[in-house]
Symmetry: C2
Subunit: 247 residues, 2 copies
């Protein structure tokens, strides 16, 4: 049950999370300025429940997404302190890959394994994670790095219901999407999700699933028909040849 | 030729681009705070050069990516004003989908068409763009929306070399990746790129390309062999039957 209320704009001085600064540089002889901010790198994990033939995601309330979808008071202006941002809190729910920030000196795979346990409740070992690749998120503002992993889980690996770290005030729900519905899910705009989630699903569909034979037949019917006809013709000619020899 | 020098941290007050603010809210009875910032929505375009069998991307210097890759002076601290950020400027080059921010009251497809012309030099009409889907970028900080389109171009549609809007100080280079190399390209970590770029390529490979017959044969050799054998057996039996009837 999502219970979120009293969403109000507050003063924001010396934020621990949003620390803007500016770089100056000279590009092709011209002076330029760019405002950016410090941010953490992150890991994200494509979690494949192999018994249930599904992928697991996390759903949570994201204030920034909520604000962006609800507040229509001018693109350039920060709302004045005290402004109530009224709307259905469900507009702030996103579905994402299980993920976490890199805020400790540990191998990325270990941080990823911890997030799988914390957010989704499965005990995966860092050495069992498959590294997919790394990307840059927020290229305009933070340039931070996101490394994506792939993990297989089964019910035998379940330790808890997940739900995030209560000490960090996380309220995270696990969402399961059957493999057969994954592609519709990533293109469904009614479920806000990051591009990293859409890429993770695409990678999984390509790398971990063989295209179904029916789909392959449909997409390649002409070529398969030609090959099959060729094989059949050869078989018929062979058979006719054998018959003739017998005569 | 990339010429970028004298990259230095400057004072950043009242940034036009990074405007932090704070939301307070009550979730399940507990008061919470979240720092976020205002940001523009954006469009991005998967550009398919159909004659050249390639996709077109843009390469540019991204100060935030450069900083994130070069500066090792503590994850939490903003570097003091005057700090020189020394490193190979090529570390700040990213390859991305052609993209632009939504800063005018126009249909998204029109803004996308303008970006294709400005950054890559091709005249595409908004009505010819295919809308792929929308995603949320920066779910932690901005929650802004990115809408991805697909465009087909030919040399007959070329108006200029592209390169971005000089009035906005853009220095953008077009990068062409042959279809045969696309999948390796998105997983190649030596080329920094956003997850949106990786998703766009994945979508293209799935939606706009039929899997090659060789690949299909390889992935489905057992099933295809069974079907082909069945067809051949049927053909042989038919031929033998005909031969028998003739006798």
């Amino acid at each position: 049950m999502l219970s979120i209320e009293k969403i109000v704009v507050e003063q924001c001085n010396n934020s621990k999370y949003i620390r803007p600064f500016r770089l100056s540089y000279v590009q092709d002889g011209k002076s330029k300025l760019w405002d950016l901010m410090k941010s953490h790198d992150s890991v994200a994990i494509i979690i494949h429940h192999i018994e249930r033939r599904s992928l697991l995601f996390v759903r949570q309330f994201r204030p920034a997404v909520y604000f962006n979808r609800v507040y229509a008071g001018g693109e350039q202006e920060v709302p004045p302190v005290g402004t109530a941002i009224d709307g259905d809190p469900r507009l702030g729910l996103t579905v994402e890959l299980c993920a976490g920030i890199v805020d400790k000196e540990k191998p990325l795979a270990e941080i990823a394994a911890e997030e799988v346990q914390e957010e989704c409740g499965f005990n995966v070992s860092a050495s069992d994670l498959e590294r997919v690749s790394t990307f840059r998120t927020g290229v305009g503002t933070t340039g931070s790095m996101q490394t994506i992993f792939y993990a297989k889980v089964t019910e035998a690996m379940r330790l808890s219901k997940g739900g995030g770290n209560p000490a960090e005030g996380e309220y995270i729900e696990t969402v399961e999407v059957p493999i057969s519905q994954l592609y519709d899910f990533i293109l469904d705009e009614s479920i806000p999700k990051p591009t990293g989630c859409a890429f993770g699903v695409s990678w999984f569909l390509k790398e971990k699933l063989r295209p179904s034979f029916v789909e392959v037949m449909r997409q390649n019917y002409l070529q398969i028909a030609v090959v099959s006809s060729g094989i059949s013709l050869f078989a018929m000619l062979t058979a006719v040849g054998i018959c003739s020899l017998r005569k």
